[in-house]
Symmetry: C2
Subunit: 138 residues, 2 copies
Amino acid sequence: MEPRHTEVTVSASSSAHAAPRYDSVDCRRVSQLLARVGDKWTVLIVQALGGGPKRFNELKRLIGGISQRMLTLTLKNLERDGLVTRTVTPSIPPRVDYELTDLGHSLREPVDALGDWALAHMARIDAARERFDQTLAD
Amino acid sequence: MEPRHTEVTVSASSSAHAAPRYDSVDCRRVSQLLARVGDKWTVLIVQALGGGPKRFNELKRLIGGISQRMLTLTLKNLERDGLVTRTVTPSIPPRVDYELTDLGHSLREPVDALGDWALAHMARIDAARERFDQTLAD
DNA sequence: CAGCATCCGGGTGGATACTG
DNA sequence: CAGTATCCACCCGGATGCTG
């Protein structure tokens, strides 16, 4: 792991508010990235490719529920961002393999962190939603 | 431009290629959460509230560029998910304070991780995009 | 000050049909 | 098999105007 900043993270405790680690400009970029990563399929594809190179229809089956249009588009975006490589083998029938780059692999770490958070707190969120929707029904 | 990036020592917690840490169902939920978190304003609001409780227009000014419609909607979603509390002080003029819950604060950690990733690799992504767009222009 | 209601333009994403 | 092309429904989100 990179020994980047030793700054204290929030860890929901006594020292209420952590200093803002990002200025507003940074937040925009982060927000943009999250919008890209947070689109409907990117994470699914990255996670699917986390297990190694995959072919087009292999990915399609693996993910399930994705249209080939969206698979194509999302893969193209990932390739454009340098997160995925596209390797064509001009045979008949043609063969195309998609694989995560180092950059793509490195993305899995923070995404997994968010995944862990989601799994750890999903129950609380669902409960909060039910409570909220319930008190609205009055 | 040599990829001089710290090859993530995945041996720490999870291995790169081996067992997926999430099944497909988990991935859906993670994906859904990312879609929520990755919407246009959620992260900006969470980060703004990271500095402590804020009032409605205070948030609006702080974030800048957000319409009150979206601020209202996003705050309501955050409240529904139990990430933010809404405290009304019935005075004239009325006063409403928004504050991160413990759950909301805990979200900042993984989000910051993604933010660090974005800031660390944004240059590479931009470069990759330029290269990609360039080779398409041929 | 802190919203809600309404209208509306653009983008996202599914379904379908066709190609090399 | 691995796409491209087209059409279209939906919804996100901005602008505006009005309330308590």
